[in-house]
Symmetry: C2
Subunit: 135 residues, 2 copies
């Protein structure tokens, strides 16, 4: 399982911090110059295979969440606490966690990613719902 | 402009409360019996025309957010405070606000919806990004 990370300029600082805490494959952006989040959402979404996971960051997380969920088999979950990060895996089998750099602290972001990467999907009735999403 | 609302069973109680506060067109669910959120996300997404807005509710908001953003021209924003609800309109021109019934209080939900319905899109560089999402 590979874990990819990408952000826009608003998320660059939080992305840099998370790279010091986890082993992540960096897909940009590479500085604080203004850029367009949909480009980075797509760049990451198309790279995910099988059990790979992704982390996307923008100011609120809303833009990344809209852009990433356009892609089939991508389930991008905007989370702002550990409980959501756990439920995103347990109930939604999310393969991308989305974080809002203006919304949560670095520490909360780190805890969310930790929980996200260490929690399994529960299946059952939740699997039926995932199939409805793609249907 | 019409404002539609839909939820799964986990969001039924918050949906009922919001119906006492705003003039909303109710697309279900109509009780607390377990149901599948993607059905309600789709039911609402396909009803939105022009300036119509929508409110979707599930336990965390994550499932509704994934399911709704599968649809072209739907921009569904999971919000947990008024600042996000304002930015969802200003920067993302979101036409659906998504709420997590297990995550925020009724009062916060009401304030988010109020802000969402009364804030305009800023356009400019944000318009270019929306076009990239659909491109």
């Amino acid at each position: 399982m590979s874990v990819f990370i990408a952000s826009d300029h608003a998320g660059f600082e939080l992305k840099s911090y998370l790279q010091t805490q986890f082993n992540l494959l960096d897909l940009g952006t590479h500085d604080k110059e203004s850029c367009d989040y949909p480009i980075f959402a797509k760049r990451l979404a198309v790279r995910l295979k099988n059990d790979d996971k992704g982390i996307l960051i923008c100011g609120t997380g809303i833009g990344m969440s809209i852009a990433a969920n356009r892609f089939k088999n991508i389930r991008a979950a905007l989370c702002f606490n550990e409980e959501m990060a756990a439920l995103a895996r347990q109930h939604n089998d999310a393969n991308i966690i989305v974080l809002g750099a203006r919304i949560i602290s670095q520490e909360t972001a780190k805890n969310c990613v930790e929980k996200f990467l260490s929690t399994d999907f529960e299946g059952g009735r939740h699997q039926r719902r995932l199939e409805l999403i793609e249907g």
